[in-house]
Symmetry: C2
Subunit: 118 residues, 2 copies
């Protein structure tokens, strides 16, 4: 699969995929002419990267953890890092829940009585 097709399938831009490679998040074989050629598994890989990014991990952290996330084999250091990231995510969820609650209260109060006519 070439880069354009992977981009369309994954919903990630072509340039972003090349950026992932620069960051060593994603490998590619090359055609004799030098064009990138991806195996089918690359699609899952890209989606995994997206998930981890979406969870707020940096590319540096992702590059460190990708091996064990996809293979299930980890060094003690990796395991520690995994736990740190999971806890960070959990804390972030707490924050977001607080903010959501706050906005929810505002919405309730506002809808109840105080909508200003324009």
């Amino acid at each position: 699969m070439r880069i354009g097709q992977l981009a369309r399938r994954s919903g990630v831009s072509v340039r972003a995929l090349r950026y992932y490679e620069e960051q060593r998040l994603l490998e590619s074989a090359r055609t004799p002419g030098g064009q990138r050629d991806y195996p089918d598994e690359a699609l899952e890989r890209v989606q995994l990267i997206q998930d981890l990014f979406a969870a707020g991990l940096s590319s540096r952290t992702v590059v460190e953890l990708l091996p064990c996330v996809s293979t299930g084999v980890a060094t003690p250091a990796m395991l520690e890092q995994l736990i740190i990231e999971r806890d960070r995510i959990a804390a972030r969820i707490q924050d977001l829940n607080r903010a959501k609650k706050k906005l929810g209260h505002v919405i309730e109060n506002v809808t109840a009585a105080n909508v200003v006519q324009d």
Copy 2:
């Protein structure tokens, strides 16, 4: 209260407070000499701003919503925006929960059997 004290109390840097003013998120009175002078309510205000930033709102959005969040009075457009943001936060929480679950699984599998000795 001057800017340094507000910074220490709120845990936000002096630079950040001036940035908030630039972005029209925070007002200040001025001493005859031109130094910023904040009322006590500024502390709550700063904390509110931090909460909204932490929830992923942009300063542009915060500046639009701050009036109604602090006063409880909103236009229909503000109300719509509030709901959009709350839903965005809720979606984000979903994402994070998925990522957390995924990392949790990896951690379990890894701790169970596959820790590699260094």
